[in-house]
Symmetry: C2
Subunit: 514 residues, 2 copies
């Protein structure tokens, strides 16, 4: 048995069942070891950003850590952006990064790079394995690290010789250490604050897609506190039957209004809200300077225990139908395309319990009001703000939930960063419908330029915001990756295409010219 | 005047004329400043790997530093792989990375990341600007750093407020410091070694594409030493009229034979040769243990001075026609497609002084014998081994040399990492012909698995090596990016398509099914 074999057996024995991969030469022995274990599902992505984004989406929908198989420093570089998004989503991801044989590193081989430096720039836990006999133990610790503190990025760097040299046996990951908890005194103080009218409890993490949300709703209802969530979260429930939770907005100006006048803001599973960027003349944080900020439970801490402890103090009010979003499906929209109408038609047609991966950026703001009236669905958002998250996350979500329809709302600018994920959807037959909003440019940049107080767009700026001349043909791009696609320019066309996609299984792409 | 304006004026005053860009919100003030200066050529790439690869190709063909405009940590992450290749090519690249306003960094904004960590993992020089008044001075130093030691990666991180806050005036980059030189005693020792029959002088850097090559040839000829070059280099001359220089091979086994028995190996502008990877049972380095290794002049040192100093010691023999590759164009190949035949037809049709960007990986080995018989051309190779280099480098080379035909030899696996560069070729009307070798898989991995001593390919491995089911349709992919394309499956088709591409200007793609 060699080190690579002990790695694969350790992953399997520790409950890791899926490996998203883009391997290179230094990972050949792992590939061979994977061959001996068909019970590990290996999914090839043609670009490493697809690998890391898929592992993120898989964790968001299952709470289970997937492995990634990445090649050296530059391969990890390609995975970096979606690891950043995964980190901000608090997803547990286990990266296996191959490296040169350790004795080869003193020479200047072309692919020699700073594997540790780039890994540490985005990982919570990084280790270089020092010998084949330690691969199993290190891998078990890496799995544990990825599962710790509510989900972390763990990167194990395996020099090629630790893969091919002899090793004895596999190991099993220990359970993650207990989560830290706030003190009883801190809980009492937060509970007292939540008894004041207008106080806010802001929650994130599992509280947004499990019964913990019901608990949070009942305990805030007891004294009439507001229950809120951040704008960018790993996963939240929306549509008919979803618990009513106020969602923060994207723009700092809107959030200043949302939080104005609250006597206190209690944070449970989230950090202090901050502007997406700083803007000249606006504050970095939207909370009212008069508001008492209570950072009760950070996102790495024990959110479940904390909410239960709060309920012990505050009691729980019964929930009524009014605490949930009612059934109110919009009708199909007709006529010329607007984003609001596309939202209505999606809401009219999307099946119960879909997974919506939302990277529509500027388009999504216009879609959201209608999507709140759709059948109940989960929403995955771009937690780290790094575009190119949508298509890869959809791959992971679809692998995680083969019986649920996955719908990607994607900008044409953002979709281009990781379009290779379309191929993986086709190869794996994933049930993903991608809607591309083809506004032929980086609309967000046009809007941000104005938000920055910069007026007037000249030729150089124009040419950095517009993606036309030539126009991207998303139908051809999808077909090039093996995905069926259609372009629509009115609502009748959209309704027909989206309805057909909802009625069938497998990957599809709809380009909406807008 | 604000910091962003002083940045752009400093770049222009320091001779930086081209900016490859994929900006985000934190770079909006730079975009606005660029608007005031149309003399800065701004070229949009739809993915950051296209940005960094283009800056690399531009430097390789001009020796001039281009700026990149990148967004925060994840945007830099996307640029990382081709910065790695640029670093190994010793290309000078100036990265401008925006960041949050410095006062915003204490909050947990979604895009907050380890900008310094990721920059340092690939840059020779990294600095975070501390105030708007220092932008100009820092930018001037960054330009100088990028031009120092024969070409470096310099990364200047500019918090958004340093861009929008007041500043006074621009600065001008100082000349780079003088290059280090070996001592006279070291030169004399190396010259003595080169007097022995069978001794080798190995050169790289400017010596491979300037008159320094002639000098190296004359001084080695004086005593009959061998003149060699590494396999992966920034740029070298090939085809009719090129100086005869022995090129190292890819495989360590071949290089062991090439270097066997040499009494000494003198390195000038290059490091000790090393295997692309380590392999079980093979040495890391191909030089003969009996050979005296003389590391005379590293690639950061003064290669020109060193070669002149050697010639002072050794004298120079006259060169004759026999020292140059003769005219010997192959005829057009006919019949079924083989890689060797594609090489012959390319060699038959390619115009004088083309630029060949070689990322054909396994295909290129079969093409090379014929391409040595083509008209004289420059070759750019994948110095850092990180795939996804070809299309972006071609963008940079074509911007650098608008009057020369650029030909990209590209694998179907490797091309997928940065296919977005096709769009930039179309938008800028770049004269690039891309030839995709569609073997529908990572052929290099199939071969490396065997080289690693692993035999037998099972289902998991098969599915990580093969890029089919579905097959990538490169014609559709190219057209989706606005590039004309054709698929050919025999030599008649290839000859017609390549001949047409050579006869016209603008981007084209030919998919060769093989």
């Amino acid at each position: 048995m060699n080190g690579a074999e002990t790695l694969v057996e350790t992953l399997l024995a520790s409950g890791v069942r899926v490996c998203f991969a883009n391997p290179g030469t230094s990972e050949m022995h792992f590939v061979h070891a994977l061959d001996q274990h068909p019970e590990m599902r290996c999914i090839l992505c043609l670009f490493e950003g697809g690998v890391s984004g898929a592992a993120d989406g898989y964790y968001r929908m299952t709470g289970e850590v997937a492995a990634t198989l990445l090649h050296l420093a530059p391969g990890f570089g390609n995975a970096f952006a979606n690891l950043h998004n995964a980190r901000k989503a608090q997803s547990g991801v286990l990266n296996i990064m191959g490296d040169h044989a350790d004795y080869h590193l003193r020479f200047e081989a072309p692919l020699k790079g700073d594997t540790v430096g780039i890994a540490q720039a985005v990982s919570h836990w990084t280790r270089v394995c020092s010998s084949s006999g330690k691969v199993a133990g290190d891998a078990a610790e890496a799995v544990q690290a990825a599962r710790s503190k509510g989900g972390q990025i763990a990167t194990l760097i395996l020099p090629a010789n630790t893969a091919w040299e002899e090793a004895s046996s596999f190991a099993v990951a220990a359970a993650p250490p207990p989560l830290r908890r706030p003190s009883v005194a801190e809980v009492k103080a937060a509970a007292n604050a939540l008894r004041q009218p207008g106080a806010i409890l802001m929650i994130d993490g599992p509280a947004l897609h499990s019964d913990l949300g019901l608990l949070a709703k009942r305990l805030t209802k007891a004294y009439g506190a507001r229950l809120m969530q951040p704008f960018f979260v790993s996963r939240f429930r929306r549509g008919a039957g979803a618990l009513k939770i106020e969602r923060m907005a994207y723009r700092i100006e809107d959030n200043l209004k949302l939080l104005a006048g609250a006597p206190s803001l209690v944070l449970c599973g989230t950090a202090r809200p901050a502007g997406f960027f700083a803007y000249p003349g606006l504050p970095s944080t939207p909370d009212d300077p008069e508001t008492r900020l209570i950072e009760l439970c950070s996102r790495e801490m024990d959110i479940a225990w904390t909410l239960h402890a709060l309920s012990q103090e505050l009691g729980e009010a019964e929930l009524t139908a009014d605490d949930f979003v009612p059934e109110d499906r919009p009708a199909l929209a007709e006529g010329a395309v607007t984003m609001a109408k596309v939202g209505e038609s999606i809401a009219a047609l999307m099946p119960e319990d879909a997974v919506v991966v939302d990277e529509g950026i500027t388009a999504s703001a216009h879609l959201a009001p209608a999507l709140r009236r759709a059948a109940g669905h989960d929403v995955l958002t771009i937690t780290g703000g790094s575009i190119g998250f949508g298509l890869p996350n959809a791959v992971g979500a679809a692998v995680a939930c083969p019986d649920r329809k996955v719908v990607v709302l994607e900008g044409d600018g953002s979709g281009m960063y990781t379009l290779q994920s379309l191929w993986t959807m086709a190869r794996e037959g994933l049930d993903v419908t991608t809607v591309i909003f083809a506004n032929r440019g980086y609309q967000i940049l046009r809007e941000e330029l104005a938000a920055m107080g910069v007026n007037g767009v000249g030729r150089n700026a124009q040419r950095m915001f517009d993606v036309e001349g030539p126009i991207l043909d998303w139908v051809a791009l999808a077909q090039g990756h093996g995905v069926q696609a259609v372009r629509v320019s009115d609502m009748a066309g959209f309704n027909a295409a989206f309805s057909e996609a909802m009625g069938q299984r497998g990957p599809r792409l709809i380009e909406v010219v807008c």
